[in-house]
């Protein structure tokens, strides 16, 4: 007669395994030993943290090697390496965000920073605000407007050109010689240094409109030179992954090729295309060099991209740091520069969030 087997208290399957609390014990020991060692050679928090981490990893690996065997020890070693690499990669990111936050928040919270320009803010004004301890005058409104307008125009130029190029490459070219040349040129364009793109736009407009033509539109052209290859590449990849079955399904219904592309292929790929475009915008909104040579710098608000110099966030930061408004009291300019840097990071972050939002809005619907 078969009897029910009861569960053994200590399973034979868990023999030779470290108990669950081992890592915590090792961590505690590592922290204490590291503190002791550090006090011998002079204590600092950073060294203490690094040493604790190294000791913890070593203790974990050795204990596993002794009790659990080679496979587990290798596993823990690899895990330590991966986590270590992750932390090292994270360090600069956290550090940048932290520095910009600490330096930028006071300026950003300054009343009027977002709503006023640098028009009329002279060295004397800055000197006065430092002397009297009053809030820093001047703001970033003109640069924000400039950045948004220039990037908007760059997008208006790049997206049609880039998307149509990608459509030609994927849907029409059938891998002919011409398409290989285009692909090669797009790859070359991806590698163009941004200052070269700026010089190209400046030289081009100097040729057709006379030397010294600096407007927001020239800057937009320079940025679109940088943006087009990114848009082509990302849209091309997105169009390529649309299954051929969908195109054939549409053809089999007697739908023309261009209608198939417009109504089936692009809607299927639109979420990827939209997020690719947004990321391309995020990439060019922080460009400084091409804007310096194409849009110049302005301290007042200019809403017209076709006439007059225009400021933008990166060039605003650059000029505030390099040539402080008041040479003897640079602090207000530095504060404005950090605040503008923070604003730029927030803008890029919002764009990235926007890309995700757009991607999920346009994504093919699921559900029953």
């Amino acid at each position: 007669m078969a009897t029910l087997m009861t569960e053994r208290k200590r399973s034979a399957l868990t023999r030779g395994r470290l108990p669950r609390y081992t890592p915590y014990v090792i961590a505690a020991a590592a922290i204490v030993i590291a503190a002791a060692l550090m006090s011998l050679i002079g204590f600092n928090v950073f060294g203490w943290a690094v040493l604790s981490a190294v000791l913890f990893a070593a203790g974990n690996v050795i204990s596993a090697a002794v009790v659990e065997g080679r496979r587990k020890a290798t596993d823990k070693f690899a895990t330590s390496l991966v986590v270590g690499a992750f932390l090292i990669a994270l360090l600069p990111l956290v550090s940048v965000i932290w520095t910009v936050l600490v330096n930028g928040v006071p300026g950003l919270l300054n009343p009027g920073f977002l709503s006023s320009s640098m028009n009329g803010v002279t060295g004397a004004v800055d000197n006065a605000s430092v002397k009297d301890g009053t809030p820093v005058m001047g703001g970033v409104y003109h640069a924000l407007v400039g950045s948004v307008l220039i990037t908007l125009w760059a997008t208006i130029i790049s997206v049609p050109v880039g998307l149509l190029t990608a459509i030609y490459l994927v849907e029409y070219s059938a891998d002919n010689k011409f398409s290989k040349v285009i692909t090669f040129l797009v790859d070359v364009m991806t590698g163009i240094p941004s200052i070269v793109a700026g010089l190209f736009a400046a030289a081009f407009f100097a040729m057709i409109l006379g030397p010294g033509t600096k407007t927001g539109f020239v800057a937009a052209v320079a940025l679109s030179v940088l943006m087009i290859p990114v848009v082509v590449r990302s849209s091309e990849e997105m169009l390529k992954i649309v299954p051929n079955e969908l195109r054939e399904a549409a053809y089999a219904l007697g739908v023309r090729k261009w209608r198939t592309i417009v109504k089936v292929v692009i809607p299927t790929a639109i979420s990827g295309i939209a997020s690719g475009v947004t990321l391309a915008i995020a990439r060019v909104i922080g460009e400084t060099a091409p804007l310096l040579v194409t849009a110049g710098f302005a301290s007042s608000i200019n809403m017209n991209v076709f006439a007059g110099w225009m400021s933008s966030l990166p060039t605003f930061i650059y000029t505030q740091i390099m040539t402080p408004t008041s040479p003897s009291n640079a602090d207000p300019s530095t504060q404005r520069a950090w605040a503008a840097a923070l604003l730029l990071i927030i803008l890029v972050m919002l764009l990235n969030l926007g890309a995700r939002l757009v991607a999920s809005l346009f994504a093919p619907k699921t559900g029953r």
């Binding site: 195109r247 089999a252 559900g367």
Partner: protein
């Protein structure tokens, strides 16, 4: 609303490679014709030449004549789009448009061509097509839901509904049940039997029982060896092909003694 197809001396190429050689066949209106044969023998390739879908593949071309009620599909100046709107196709894998609802999938042939249609007509067409594909009762309460949320068998019937919504003369089916379970397969076979009252149906299948169950006539394709073109070996009434074929290779294939 159905037309016959007469094929004469048809050769099908992928670039320089001749995939199908010298096919002569007559497909009667309002009948079900099955193509059987081993993998790679050119059945699907030949099927795709019947609505000019073959040339969608780069380098693919066709020589010979395909007459749809006497009109040559491959004559000069024939627009493949016109051909395809008369000869619909259902593919091996169900492929509803993922961005569209069930209703829009059925109306895809109308909407993608931007033809205007009054709302009541559109509703009637959706219901008629879905009823025609035996899918109406299963989806009538969720026409706004995406087509990709249906089961595989339902998706395939949705694709059939989509094909019949443009009222074609002929429906081509390329192994429509190969990705489906037996119950969905049965549903589609029943549907094929109903479809032949109104349409000419051509079906490629690997399942010989299926060919025997649904078709009036059967064509057996074979290939002499790798790299050689596929050929039409025998074309006759289904009962003849399965019970009393005239060719030795047909008999070997249908009785499972092949290879």
């Amino acid at each position: 609303m159905s037309k016959r197809i007469d094929v004469s001396d048809l050769n099908v190429y992928y670039g320089d490679f001749r995939a199908v050689e010298d096919v002569n066949i007559t497909i009667e209106a309002k009948s079900v014709t099955a193509f059987i044969g081993p993998s790679g023998c050119g059945k699907s390739t030949f099927l795709r030449t019947l609505n000019r879908m073959h040339e969608v593949i780069p380098g693919a071309r066709v020589e010979g004549k395909v007459l749809l009620d006497g009109d040559n599909l491959y004559a000069d100046g024939v627009d493949p789009v016109t051909v395809r709107s008369q000869i619909g196709m259902v593919f091996q894998r169900p492929n509803p448009f993922p961005t569209m609802s069930i209703r829009d999938n059925v109306l895809a042939g109308v909407k993608l061509n931007s033809r205007r249609m009054p709302k009541s007509d559109a509703e009637a067409l959706v219901e008629k097509s879905l009823r025609g594909a035996n899918l109406w009762n299963e989806v009538k309460d969720r026409l706004e839901k995406p087509g990709s949320g249906l089961s595989g068998g339902q998706q395939q019937r949705l694709c059939i509904a989509r094909a019949i919504a443009v009222s074609p003369e002929v429906i081509l089916m390329d192994e429509p049940c190969s990705a489906l379970d037996p119950i969905s397969t049965l549903a589609i076979e029943d549907l094929i039997n109903e479809l032949k009252d109104e349409y000419t149906v051509v079906i490629v299948t690997h399942n010989m029982q299926q060919a025997a169950r649904v078709s009036d006539k059967t064509a057996f394709f074979n290939i002499a060896g790798t790299g050689k073109p596929g050929k039409l070996i025998e074309f006759a009434e289904t009962a003849t092909i399965f019970n009393n074929p005239s060719q030795k290779s047909t008999e070997d294939y249908v009785s499972g003694r092949f290879g």
